[in-house]
C-alpha cells in the first residue's frame, strides 16, 4: 500500500518549483560545484593521457617489460648476470610472440658512459632500440615526434638538445661513445649525430642519448639485450596478458619478472598521485558546499511543510513514503544542478580549448597546452555520485521531521 513513484516525483517536482528562488540558488551552487569538478577532472584526464602516452611511447616503456628475475633489483650491479644472451633473447622473443594480444616484442639495452667530440667528453645516459621497433611503437599517431632513429643507419644516434649545445655537436657531426663492456673492459665506438631532439625535461636533456640497438651491442660487446619491451593491442589487456606471459615463459624454462609501464614510470606515478590528491581535496570541498546547500534547502522546506507532513501522515501516508518525497526533491535539485553544470562544463571546456592556452609545467623545457578533455562517463559518474549524496543529505532532515508526532506536526505554526 504505497503511492506510485510517478506521483511522488510529480509531488516533489511541484514543491521544487513552488520555491523557485530557493531551489534556483541551490541548483546554481550545485552547477558551479559540478563545473569546478568537471573542469579539474577534464584537465587531469588530459594530463594523465598525455603522461601515459609519454611513458609508453615517449619513454619507450611499451606496456610490459620482461627481464630475467632479479634484474630490477640487482641488474645495475651485475649486468652480465642478468643479460639476455642471443639464445635467451630468442627464447623470450619467440615465446612472447605466441601470446595472443601481443603486437610488438622489442629488445632493449640500457646505455650509459661518456660521449666525446674529440676534445671534450660528457656523460650520456639513454637506451638502445632498433629503428624499426621505434617506428612500430610510435605508430602513425606519434610518427611526427622528434628523436627518430633512421632505419639502416646503425651508427646514427639521437642526442639531447642541451647535450648537443654543451658538446658543440650538430646534426651529422661525428663523435665517440665510451663505456664498459659487460665483461668490464673499456670500449669505444664511433657514432654520428642522426638527430638532435629536446627530451622535454631539463633534468635529462643534457645527457640523453638514444642509440640504435646494433651500435649499443657493439659498444657493450653484447649479442642480446637486458630486457624485452612488449606492446599489446590495447593497454586495457595488460591484466589479462601479463599472467599468461609469465606462465608461458616459465613453461619455456625462463624465470621471468614482468613489470607494467605504470610501475616503471616514476614520473607518471608521482604526478598522478599528486593530482589525485588535489582532485580528492577539491571534490571534498565542492561536495561539502553543495550538500550543505541541499541540507539547508531541505531543512527549510521541511520546516515550512511540517503541517503538511502531519496531514499526509494523518490521511494514511507512511513515514517512509514522506521521507522519499523529500529525498526525491533533493535529488531533483541536484540532478538539475548537475545537468546545468554538465552543459556549462562542455561550453567552458570548449572555450578553454579554443583559447589554446599554454603554460610551463615544472621541470619541463617546453610549453604545455592547457586542454580540458571531458569524458561523458566521468561526468555521469559525478552526476550519479552527487545524486546519491543528495538523497542521503535530504534523508536526514526528512527523517527528523517524520519523528515528530502527528499531532505535534499538525499543530506546527
Amino acid at each position: 500500500m504505497s503511492m506510485s513513484l510517478a506521483m511522488r516525483c510529480k509531488l516533489a517536482a511541484r514543491n521544487v518549483m513552488k520555491n523557485r528562488r530557493r531551489s534556483l540558488v541551490t541548483v546554481l551552487s550545485v552547477a558551479i560545484g559540478f563545473l569546478a569538478l568537471s573542469l579539474f577532472e577534464g584537465y587531469f584526464t588530459y594530463v594523465y593521457r598525455i603522461l601515459k602516452d609519454q611513458a609508453i611511447v615517449g619513454e619507450r616503456l611499451g606496456h610490459l617489460t620482461v627481464v630475467r628475475r632479479g634484474f630490477f633489483d640487482q641488474g645495475t650491479l651485475d649486468p652480465e648476470k642478468f643479460q639476455l644472451d642471443a639464445a635467451a633473447l630468442d627464447l623470450v622473443t619467440r615465446t612472447v610472440r605466441q601470446v595472443p594480444g601481443v603486437k610488438l616484442v622489442s629488445p632493449r639495452l640500457a646505455v650509459s658512459g661518456l660521449v666525446s667530440n674529440g676534445t671534450t667528453s660528457h656523460i650520456f645516459i639513454g637506451e638502445a632500440i632498433s629503428a624499426e621497433d621505434q617506428k612500430a611503437l610510435r605508430g602513425t599517431e606519434y610518427a611526427y615526434l622528434p628523436g627518430k632513429l633512421a632505419p639502416g643507419q646503425d651508427d646514427a644516434a639521437v642526442i639531447g638538445q642541451k647535450m648537443a649545445k654543451i658538446m658543440g655537436l650538430q646534426q651529422g657531426s661525428d663523435g665517440v661513445l665510451m663505456a664498459s663492456t659487460l665483461s668490464g673492459m673499456v670500449n669505444a665506438v664511433d657514432f654520428r649525430v642522426g638527430e638532435i631532439a629536446n627530451t622535454g625535461s631539463m633534468g635529462t636533456d643534457d645527457k640523453f642519448a638514444l642509440l640504435p640497438l646494433a651500435l649499443a651491442r657493439k659498444l657493450y660487446g653484447s649479442d642480446g639485450a637486458d630486457r624485452v619491451v612488449v606492446v599489446l593491442d590495447a593497454v586495457d589487456s595488460i591484466p589479462a596478458v601479463k599472467p599468461v606471459l609469465l606462465e608461458k615463459l616459465k613453461a619455456a624454462g625462463f624465470d621471468a619478472d614482468i613489470k607494467e609501464w605504470s610501475e616503471l614510470s616514476v614520473y607518471y606515478t608521482q604526478v598522478k598521485g599528486l593530482f589525485d590528491m588535489m582532485y580528492l581535496f577539491i571534490m571534498v570541498v565542492v561536495v561539502m558546499v553543495a550538500m550543505t546547500s541541499v541540507v539547508n534547502t531541505m531543512t527549510m522546506a521541511i520546516a515550512e511543510r511540517t503541517r503538511e507532513i502531519g496531514t499526509l501522515r494523518a490521511i494514511g501516508m507512511r513515514s517512509m513514503t514522506i521521507k522519499s518525497l523529500f529525498v526525491i526533491e533533493g535529488v531533483i535539485i541536484v540532478f538539475v544542478g548537475s545537468l546545468a553544470g554538465m552543459a556549462l562544463s562542455y561550453a567552458i571546456g570548449a572555450g578553454i580549448n579554443l583559447a589554446q592556452i599554454t603554460y610551463s609545467p615544472p621541470d619541463s623545457s617546453e610549453q604545455a597546452a592547457l586542454v580540458i578533455e571531458l569524458l561523458f562517463n566521468n561526468m555521469f559518474g559525478s552526476l550519479f555520485t552527487l545524486s546519491v549524496l543528495a538523497a542521503v543529505a535530504s534523508y536526514f532532515p526528512a527523517r527528523h521531521a517524520t519523528q515528530k508526532t502527528i499531532v505535534g506536526a499538525l499543530g506546527h505554526v
Binding site: M7, E308, G310, T311, A314, I315, G316, S319, M320, V407
Partner: protein
C-alpha cells in the same frame, strides 16, 4: 444492541512531565454507533481535540483502550496505524490542510493514491465527488485560488473519497463565516444521511449543536453531558 464503531474505555491522556504535566482527559468512556452524526463540544482546552485525535489514531492515550470497528488498534505499529487510517478514517481539519501544490482534484485523489490505487480510477472518483459537492468548475484550481468554503468542501471530498467508515472533523467551521459554517455542517449532515458514514466533529460553537443528532459536552477532560437531539436542523 449493535457493537459501537468507536469504543473508548478508561482513557487517560496528559501532556508534559512531572509537576508541569497537564491531565487533558481523565478516565473517559465513550461509544459511538455506526452512522451517528455526533458533535463533541466544549470550551477551548476542554480536551475535545485530544479526544478526536485519539479516535483518529493520531495520538496514543497514556492509559485505556480504543477499539475501532471492533479492532483493538493500540497494539498496531505506526505503519499499520497509517494503513488503518487510510482504509477506515477520513479527516477534516480546521485550516483545511490541503496540499498547496496540488489542484482540488489532485488533493481529493490523494488518499486513493496513498493506497496505491490507479491514477485513472482516483481521478474519475475525485471528479465525480467534487461535482457532487458543487465544485465541478474548480477541479483544476489550487487551494490559494479558492474561497474558504470551497477549500473545506475539497477537504470533505478528500475525507470521503476512500469510503471511510468514520469521518472526524476538528473545528471544521472555525475558519469560515457563519453562512459557510452552516453550509458546511449541512453538507456533512447530508453526506452522513446519504452515505451512512459516521461523522464526529468537534466545535466550540454552540450554534452548531442543533445540527448534530448527538452532542457530547466535554469539560476539564471529562464528558459532562451526552444527549440525542430531537429537534434536528436538517439539510433540505
Amino acid at each position: 444492541m449493535t457493537q459501537p464503531i468507536i469504543k473508548l474505555e478508561h482513557i487517560t491522556k496528559s501532556y508534559g512531565h512531572g509537576d508541569g504535566a497537564v491531565n487533558v482527559l481523565q478516565d473517559l468512556n465513550l461509544s459511538i454507533q455506526q452512522g451517528e452524526f455526533t458533535c463533541i463540544w466544549g470550551a477551548s482546552g476542554s480536551g475535545k481535540s485530544t479526544l478526536l485525535n485519539l479516535m483518529g489514531l493520531l495520538d496514543r492515550p497514556d492509559q485505556g483502550r480504543i477499539a475501532i470497528k471492533n479492532a483493538e488498534v493500540l497494539g498496531l505499529n505506526d505503519n499499520r496505524l497509517a494503513d488503518f487510517r487510510s482504509r477506515h478514517l477520513g479527516f477534516i481539519f480546521q485550516s483545511f490542510n490541503l496540499v498547496p501544490v496540488l489542484s482540488a482534484q489532485e488533493n481529493t485523489m490523494l488518499p486513493l493514491q496513498i493506497r496505491g490505487e490507479a491514477d485513472d480510477t482516483a481521478r474519475r472518483r475525485a471528479r465525480d465527488l467534487l461535482a457532487e459537492l458543487g465544485l465541478e468548475r474548480h477541479l483544476h484550481k489550487r487551494p490559494d485560488e479558492m474561497s474558504g468554503g470551497q477549500r473545506q468542501r475539497v477537504a470533505i471530498a478528500r475525507a470521503l473519497i476512500g469510503d471511510p467508515d468514520i469521518v472526524l472533523a476538528d473545528e471544521p467551521t472555525a475558519n469560515l463565516d457563519s453562512a459557510n459554517s452552516d453550509a458546511i455542517i449541512l453538507l456533512m449532515q447530508k453526506l452522513n444521511q446519504k452515505r451512512k458514514v459516521t461523522f464526529v466533529f468537534a466545535t466550540h460553537d454552540t450554534h452548531l449543536l442543533s445540527y448534530a443528532a448527538r452532542s457530547i459536552q466535554v469539560r476539564d477532560g471529562r464528558i459532562v453531558d451526552d444527549r440525542h437531539n430531537t429537534y434536528l436542523k436538517e439539510a433540505s
